[in-house]
Symmetry: C2
Subunit: 266 residues, 2 copies
C-alpha cells in the first residue's frame, strides 16, 4: 500500500507520535543510557500504536548517539506490531543526483521507512530521486514556524505572477507540477493556522505534516479546521508523549497523552 | 586552530578531494564490497593529503551502506596522517532547536569533523546551533548549479531593497549578520563563474566551497579568477580523483589527477 493510502486507511487518528529519544530524558534507570533508546521507543510504540496514523523517528537523535542499529530495529518493530502504520523518517535530506539516490536508499531500503522528510532548497531535482521508489512518500518542508522560517519562506517572489510568498509558490508547484505519482506531502507549522489554510487551498490533494502540537486542545482544533478534509492531515507530537512521565508509568502516561491528543484532533 | 585558519594555512592548494565511495566503483577485487569503503578512502587520503586543502566525505555514501563506523575510522585516519587538513562533513543538514543540536553533535563530536555543510531552508536558527562549537565551520548552501537550483535560489525577492535574488540576499546576510564568530562559509556552484564573482562581492570574507570542478583546467581558471583572493577558496573534486583508475594503480592515478587539478587551481 502506498504511503498516502496508508494514511487514508487510518482515518481514526490524525496523531503522529514523533520518536526523538534524548538519553538524558529516558525514564528511571534508563536515564542517560543511549543503549536503551530502542527499549524506550519500542515501549512507546507498543503503548500508542492503535492511537496513531504514523510514527516519525527523527534520525538526528539516533545518529548523535551512534544508534543507527537501534533505529533499524525500531522501524522493524513498528512494522511488526503495527503493520498498517506508516513510518516517516524525519531526516530533512536535501541533495541531488547520486547523493540523493544514496539518501533514498538509506531511508527506503536500509531503514524501510514509508516516507521521508526533505528540505527542498536545491529544488525539484533534489526531490526526484525519492519518487523513483513507487508508493513511498516524500514530504517537503514548505512553511516552518520557527523564527528563521521567515528568512526565505515568507519572501514574496518578484518575478512569479501574483508575487506569492515562497512557501505559497512551493505548495502550488508541489500540487500542480511535482506530484507526478501521488507521493508528495508538505510540512506546515502549527503556529499560524491561516498559513495551513493557505497551503491547503493551494495544495488540496497533498497530505500535510504539522509538527509542534502539544497536548493542548486549542491549537489542535484550529489546525484541524485550517487543514480541512480534502487530504490526510498528520499532526505530530513528540515530547509531550515521550516524556509524559519520567517514572515507571511512562508508557501508560504516554498512552494517556496520546489518547487525549488524538481526541483533540478528530 | 579554527576551520578558516586551517584553510588559510594551506595556501599551497585550493583542491578539496570529495570522498563519495560507491561500492560498485571500487577498484579491482574491492568492487561491490561495502566493507572496503574505509580501505579505499584511506588509500586515496594517503595518496593525496599533501596536495589538498581539505577532504570532504559525503555522509550519504556511508549511511546507505551501513558504514558509519567506517566513516568514523576514515576521519580519524585523516586527522592522524594529515593533522593540519580540515575535514568537511558534507551532510547538508537543516533543522532547528534540539534536533539541530543533535546533528551538530553528530558532526563535531561523533565524527570529529572540522566543518559541516548545511541547507539553510529553515533560516538562521537552523544554523545557530552549529556556531556553538567554537572554531568549527558551518558552510551554507547558497547557489547550486543543478537545474533545480533555479527554483528558489534565483528568485528575486520583492520586499528586500534592490530586489536581490535569494542567493544574493543569503550571501549578504551571511557576511553582514550571521557570521558572528568567523565560522561561516558558502557553497557556490562552479558552472557560472559570474555567480561566484557576485557571491564573492557580497561576502568578501567568507570561505567559498565550490563543488563540481573536474580535472579540466578551463573551468578551474575561471573559478579561481571569479573567487578572488580575499578569503579561502575550496574547490571540490570527487569522482575524477576517486575513480581515475579501476585497477591496482588507482591510488597513483588519483594522485596524478589531484596534482593536475591542484595545479590548475593555483
Amino acid at each position: 500500500m502506498t504511503f498516502t493510502a496508508q494514511l487514508q486507511a487510518l482515518s481514526h487518528s490524525r496523531l503522529c507520535v514523533g520518536l526523538d529519544p534524548e538519553p538524558a530524558r529516558l525514564p528511571g534507570a534508563w536515564a542517560g543510557d543511549a543503549a536503551k533508546i530502542f527499549d524506550f521507543c519500542a515501549a512507546i510504540v507498543d503503548a500508542t500504536h492503535d492511537l496513531v496514523c504514523a510514527f516519525k523517528p527523527q534520525i538526528a537523535y539516533f545518529a548523535a548517539h551512534r544508534a543507527e542499529d537501534q533505529l533499524e530495529r525500531l522501524i522493524d518493530h513498528i512494522h511488526a506490531v503495527a503493520p498498517g502504520v506508516p513510518v516517516i523518517l524525519d531526516a530533512k535530506r536535501g541533495d541531488i543526483g547520486s547523493t540523493a539516490e544514496q539518501y533514498a536508499r538509506e531511508a527506503f531500503e536500509r531503514y524501510r521507512a514509508d516516507a521521508v522528510t526533505l528540505s527542498p532548497f536545491m529544488g525539484f531535482d533534489s526531490v526526484e530521486p525519492y519518487l523513483a521508489y513507487e508508493g513511498k512518500g516524500a514530504i517537503l518542508l514548505c512553511r516552518t514556524s520557527n523564527k528563521g522560517g521567515d528568512d526565505w519562506q515568507m519572501q514574496r517572489l518578484a518575478d512569479v505572477p501574483g508575487q506569492p510568498r515562497l512557501f505559497e509558490h512551493l505548495a502550488r508547484l508541489a500540487e500542480t507540477q511535482w506530484n507526478r505519482n501521488g507521493q508528495l506531502g508538505l510540512v506546515v507549522g502549527a503556529t499560524y493556522p491561516g498559513e495551513i489554510a493557505r497551503v491547503r487551498e493551494l495544495a488540496p490533494t497533498l497530505p500535510l505534516l504539522v509538527p509542534g502540537v502539544g497536548a493542548q486542545g486549542g491549537d489542535a482544533a484550529a489546525v484541524v479546521q485550517a487543514a480541512g478534509r480534502t487530504a490526510p492531515l498528520v499532526v505530530n507530537s513528540s515530547r509531550a508523549v515521550l516524556y509524559a512521565s519520567s517514572g515507571a508509568d511512562f508508557a501508560a502516561r504516554a498512552r494517556a497523552v496520546a489518547e487525549a491528543t488524538r481526541a483533540s484532533l478528530i
